[in-house]
């Protein structure tokens, strides 16, 4: 069998290795992986910029889905043939993340860019039957992050306004999930073509942030001056101040990233923050329980995750390079 690894974290990227197919140990699943997908964290890991120190030689990527090929002794949650996805955090099953659970697929624990993956059964979740393998592979990081961003804080009344930024994987999921949960959605994007596609996913209104750099004013206009009740801020340093300005009074800003290649700090203008009193909430993906809950909503609401492009297993390096251009609308997937 073949796997792609991060042997070093100096920007070298994916390195292919051959192995024997492993045997599942007690409590483990051997998963024949069918598809895997990239996230921003994979780029950070490859370049040595991720906050959790990765293990050299780790099998890459947190996100993947496949079929259970064999089950180890004592496995009770799944059987051979079940369709599963791996959870982002290997040991965070439910409740709140604590320091004893800091073990991630594709970082400190072998991940999903491989023909066969060993998963602890506690780190696997069923995937909705209506999803293709490529779609199912997008659930663990982007899907769960959007899910916990929207549902992880105080519950908003139906009809409240959710604001999403751009057209990355998390943002597009957030549009779809927010609509399914009964919210009004405003999305920002950078072109009329993307605006049309985001509307097609359910966005009620779209603001072009290239035409309107101070897009918070447009959001306030679209909400009768009230602002958005929840902002899913996927950009961090570049957008947090506008997110604060776009928020309703005591609204929620979910801040997913706090640094970028061009900005090391988060800066918020005190006078702007004083006007909205927005609360900033942090999210680090979510637990296996969150992945399971996401799957139930995706299934019930018949959500189809947005896949930009699918590459073959031999093209994994090209797929990673394409993902890193930032041009994709939705997820970049490798089928295995």
């Amino acid at each position: 069998m073949r796997s792609y690894h991060f042997d070093s974290f100096d920007g070298t990227g994916l390195v292919s290795h051959e192995h024997d197919v492993p045997e599942p140990g007690p409590g483990q699943l051997l998963v024949r992986v069918k598809a895997a997908t990239f996230n921003k964290r994979d780029d950070l890991i490859a370049r040595g910029r991720y906050p959790l120190p990765p293990r050299p030689g780790v099998v890459a990527l947190s996100d993947g889905a496949g079929e259970v090929a064999a089950a180890g002794e004592g496995v009770t949650r799944f059987g051979v043939g079940d369709r599963v996805a791996g959870s982002y955090w290997n040991r965070w099953h439910d409740g709140r993340l604590d320091a004893s659970m800091l073990d991630q697929l594709g970082c400190t624990h072998d991940g999903m860019l491989t023909e066969y993956a060993l998963l602890d059964e506690g780190a696997a979740a069923p995937v909705p039957a209506h999803l293709t393998w490529a779609e199912a592979a997008t659930l663990p990081c982007a899907g769960v992050t959007a899910w916990t961003s929207i549902t992880g804080g105080p519950e908003l009344p139906a009809g409240a306004t959710v604001l999403t930024l751009g057209t990355g994987g998390v943002s597009l999921y957030a549009v779809q999930l927010a609509k399914a949960l009964g919210y009004r959605v405003i999305a920002t994007t950078s072109s009329p073509e993307k605006a049309e596609r985001v509307r097609g996913l359910g966005a009620d209104a779209v603001v072009d942030y290239r035409e309107t750099p101070t897009w918070s004013a447009a959001v306030r206009r679209l909400t009768g001056g009230l602002g958005a009740d929840l902002v899913v801020d996927t950009m961090g340093p570049e957008t947090v101040n506008e997110s604060i300005r776009a928020s309703s009074l005591y609204g929620q800003v979910v801040l997913l990233t706090t640094y970028s290649d061009t900005a090391a700090d988060i800066t918020v203008a005190g006078a702007d923050w004083a006007q909205t009193m927005a609360g900033i909430r942090r999210v680090f993906v979510g637990s296996r329980g969150d992945l399971e809950d996401l799957g139930k909503v995706v299934e019930s609401a018949a959500i189809r995750p947005v896949v930009d492009r699918v590459f073959g297993f031999d093209e994994a390096a090209e797929a990673f390079a394409y993902y890193r251009t930032g041009r994709a609308f939705g997820k970049v997937v490798v089928e295995i």
Binding site: T151, E155, P157, A158, G159, A160, K179, A180, L181, G182, Y183, E292, D293, K296, V297, E299, S300, A301, A302
Partner: protein, 110 residues
């Protein structure tokens, strides 16, 4: 905010058309649904799973007879027709901020 009649329409549509896609948007995070066989489905995910399974079951059809709303409480009376018979009953839903937060159903015994 979504008004109670819009919530009820989404609820009824899900079961009458076997399309559960609107249900996630009308359930409260801390919803409690009393199960017909005893016990409760607690929370959004459990309630959604339960109601999605009922809504997508094409082994019968719900016809709504009456809809009564009083404050946060809604009562729906219904007939469930299946091959070889029918059952009548009523669902009591409590709804706040556009979301159902408690639900229980009763069936007529004669």
């Amino acid at each position: 905010m979504t008004d109670i009649h819009t919530v009820l329409k989404t609820y009824k549509d899900a079961f009458s058309t076997h399309d559960p896609s609107g249900l996630a948007g009308i359930l409260a995070k801390d919803i409690v649904v009393e199960r017909a066989q005893g016990g409760t489905a607690d929370g959004h995910a459990a309630a959604l799973e339960l109601w999605t399974a009922i809504a997508t079951d094409t082994g019968g059809e719900f016809d709504i007879e009456d809809e009564i709303v009083a404050g946060e409480l809604a009562v729906l009376t219904w007939t469930f027709r299946y091959e070889g018979g029918f059952t009548r009953g009523a669902n009591l839903l409590k709804i706040r901020d556009g979301r159902v937060y408690h639900a229980v159903g009763y069936t007529k015994t004669n």
